[in-house]
């Protein structure tokens, strides 16, 4: 044992899968494509598990953080040194376990879900590509390598959202995701430049060390850097005001929504804030902005989720809302709680999406909740696993969501001041979350079927297996971390906030959170089980509020009016007509005209007469000779020749 964990294999194995399936997949038999696509993440997961043993004290302990760098620098320009370095510490370990573990489960599920699709090999190539970039993002030891992964997952996301690119809406959704993410990435990039300008390095450990060496350094450029990074995080993690791409991203295949747009990629923003927590810790202002953005997003998205009728869109707004929760956690410096919630959310939200996918699969592509109902008996496994997830996200004891949500809310409350406000917002969001999840549960699975002509069938075991495993994790996932998670992550994310100590306050807050969840369930029960006609009555009673929610606060329309339309007009009238047609087109026309005119004159020179060519040749030789012997005279002669040529 030479002590190496071979971290480089973790991203490279899925990349190999991408290369093989991406280049040869079309010709390979389907079984082989599946084998390659599934084995590479499994292998990566095994390596991560092997590395995890050392962290948990049951294997040879590595030095933590464990760093693996290529011997040759990536960029070596002046004072700037950037290495290809991978860092494994507690934070990246947790992320890697989620990404490769949940990722592998979703790969299995996809093999069943996508079995009858044409671009089967293409789908798995993209999925492996995503895992490659995501693991690079998480393992990166410096911000620039992280940015590579950051952009890469955006690319994979774009490709997978637009997987059914023949459908205009899917292609448009892919473009929307990509373009909105550009805005965020721009912020990230500016943040990188700021970092470089003020620290001279992009390596996380060096930046951290420089901050530790200057304990008095709080203001100045630090809030600016933190806010720029926040813009990047808000883009990737679908926070206000850049969340608009995520609901549309549901155009992609459902396993993609589960893996990329619920469990892993969208949490990259949270991970990034936790990774650069030393910057946010020094800037209370930026931290408050994070908390406010998170709380606002959580509440905002949850209210939209109340009235959505597309099963995947409900889950999409729920994801945005839960991501807001994580940001809220980061904003009160409860990084470990945020990462804890990230983990449990990965379990239950992946499960929710996969179960929803199972429902959609069973109903032959139907996504409208109003046409479902009574699926409990037809899809028992899907129903029970989904129930676990619903209880987990609603925050019932002892499901996973309870512990992580509780950790965030407790830390927020004990902060006081702004913390109390975001705690209250979080509590209201918990109520709404519980309500809309149980609404979905009632509409899809309970009651009677509202559509006569559908004949649902339970999904194959390749899809149900991952559901069962994730259901177990959704139930038990919280027990792993309760009370221990903060201490485990402390070396990586710091211990600015005291870990939740057990006490009366915590108990009261927990009971309050569970009570709120129960209240949400109760309301959903009254509205959708006992009085199924009451939601319509309620909507009719408050038409204004209902319309605003159904139209998602008209944000898409506002963006369309304020940004998209003016940009299109600018492109059409200024860029196309003035710049393209008038300036560039005119210049091209002018140059072409000059060339044509010159050609018309010069072509007379080409007489076809051999002796005339020979004469020119001789004259040229004579001119060269003259130039060698008498340079000044040759210039005068050249002028004469020029005049003679034009006259010719």
């Amino acid at each position: 044992m030479n002590g190496s964990l071979h971290l480089w294999l973790i991203p490279l194995l899925p990349f190999a899968g991408f290369v093989i399936n991406g280049t040869l997949g079309r010709k390979l038999p389907k079984a082989l494509v599946t084998l390659i696509a599934l084995l590479t993440p499994l292998w990566s997961f095994a390596i991560v598990l092997g590395a995890a043993r050392g962290f948990l004290g049951i294997g040879p302990a590595p030095s933590i953080p464990y760093i693996e760098a290529l011997r040759y620098p990536w960029i070596n320009a002046g004072a700037l040194h950037v290495d290809f370095s991978f860092v494994l510490d507690q934070l990246s370990l947790v992320m890697l376990l989620i990404i490769t573990g949940v990722g592998f489960l979703i790969h299995i599920y996809s093999a069943g879900y996508m079995a009858h699709e044409d671009g089967y090999w293409r789908y798995f190539a993209y999925l492996n590509l995503f895992l490659f970039f995501m693991t690079v993002l998480v393992l990166a030891g410096n911000a620039l390598l992280m940015f590579v992964g950051w952009e890469g997952v955006g690319l994979a996301s774009y490709l997978l959202i637009g997987f059914w690119f023949q459908k205009t809406s899917a292609a448009d959704a892919g473009k929307k995701a990509f373009i909105v993410n550009r805005v965020g990435d721009f912020g990230f990039l500016i943040g990188l430049f700021f970092l470089l300008a003020s620290f001279g390095t992009l390596t996380f450990s060096e930046i951290s060390a420089k901050l530790v060496a200057n304990p008095a350094w709080t203001g100045g450029v630090l809030p600016a850097i933190a806010l720029c990074l926040l813009v990047g995080a808000a883009g990737k993690s679908a926070q206000l005001p850049l969340y608009v791409w995520l609901p549309d991203a549901m155009e992609g295949p459902t396993p993609v929504s589960a893996l990329i747009h619920a469990a892993t990629m969208v949490t990259a923003g949270v991970y990034m804030i936790a990774r650069t927590h030393f910057l946010f810790d020094r800037s209370p202002f930026a931290l408050s902005v994070v908390a406010i953005v998170g709380a606002a997003t959580a509440l905002f998205a949850a209210t939209i989720g109340l009235v959505q009728t597309d099963i995947k869109r409900v889950l999409a707004y729920s994801t945005i809302s839960q991501l807001g929760y994580m940001f809220l956690g980061c904003g009160v410096a409860a990084y470990s709680a945020a990462i804890f919630h990230l983990m449990t959310h990965a379990f239950f939200k992946a499960l929710l999406f996969l179960a929803a996918g199972s429902v959609i699969h069973a109903l032959g592509g139907e996504q409208d909740l109003r046409k479902m109902g009574g699926l409990r008996k037809k899809l028992p496994v899907t129903f029970w696993t989904m129930t676990m997830a619903v209880f987990a996200i609603a925050g019932f004891f002892p499901f996973a969501g309870f512990f992580s949500k509780d950790a965030i809310l407790y830390t927020a409350f004990t902060q006081g001041g702004l913390g109390t406000i975001v705690w209250f917002v979080g509590l209201v969001t918990a109520l709404l979350t519980s309500f809309y999840m149980f609404r979905l549960w009632y509409l899809a699975f309970l009651g009677e079927s509202r559509s006569a002509d559908i004949h649902p069938h339970e999904s194959p075991w390749s899809m149900l297996g991952p559901l069962v495993i994730l259901a177990v994790l959704s139930v038990c996932g919280g027990w792993i971390g309760a009370g221990r998670f903060g201490a485990f992550l402390a070396p990586a994310v710091g211990t600015k906030t005291a870990e939740a100590a057990s006490g009366n306050l915590e108990l009261i807050l927990s009971v309050l959170a569970v009570g709120v969840a129960a209240l949400g369930w109760f309301i959903a029960d009254r509205l959708y089980r006992t009085n199924p006609e009451s939601p319509a009555r309620l909507a009719a009673a408050f038409p204004a509020a209902y319309n605003v929610l159904v139209h998602k606060y008209y944000v898409d329309e506002i963006y369309n009016f304020l940004i998209v339309k003016p940009l299109l007009l600018l492109s059409k009238f200024v860029l196309e007509w003035v710049v393209d047609v008038a300036i560039l087109g005119g210049a091209a026309w002018l140059l072409g005209g000059i060339a044509t005119l010159g050609g018309a004159i010069l072509q007379r020179w080409q007489s076809g007469n051999l002796r005339s060519y020979a004469a020119w040749l001789a004259l040229g030789a004579a001119a060269l000779l003259l130039f060698v012997l008498m340079p000044w005279a040759s210039i005068l002669a050249g002028f004469g020749l020029h005049v003679g040529m034009v006259a010719h």
Binding site: S607, G608, N609, L610, R611, A614
Partner: protein, 111 residues
């Protein structure tokens, strides 16, 4: 006998004579190339120019006792032989097609 001839050459004929001869031959070649109408004569003028250059090559090779110049002459002769083969073939092809060898009338290669 042959070494005595070379000695005579070295002593009695100055370098400039060879060069002058070379220049005269070259000029004759140029003039012939420019003014003659028969394609074969034009072709022969080119050979004349090549050989004028060859003459100056050997002259200088002899003067500087450098073998390079003589090697170059062999190169030129080789290229000239190849060129003669190709050139004569073209001339025959042109004559068959046009029944004339007057260069002024072989002028289809113009716009």
């Amino acid at each position: 006998m042959s070494s005595g001839y070379v000695q005579l050459l070295q002593q009695d004929v100055p370098l400039s004579w060879y060069l002058l001869l070379s220049a005269v031959l070259f000029s004759l070649g140029i003039v012939g190339f420019l003014i003659k109408r028969n394609l074969i004569t034009v072709f022969m003028s080119i050979e004349l120019m090549l050989n004028a250059v060859n003459l100056s090559f050997v002259t200088f090779a002899h003067q500087w006792h450098a073998v390079k110049g003589q090697i170059f002459v062999f190169f030129v002769m080789m290229v000239a032989a190849a060129e003669a083969a190709v050139g004569l073939a073209i001339i025959i092809a042109v004559f068959r097609a046009r029944a004339t060898l007057a260069v002024d009338r072989i002028d289809l290669m113009k716009l």
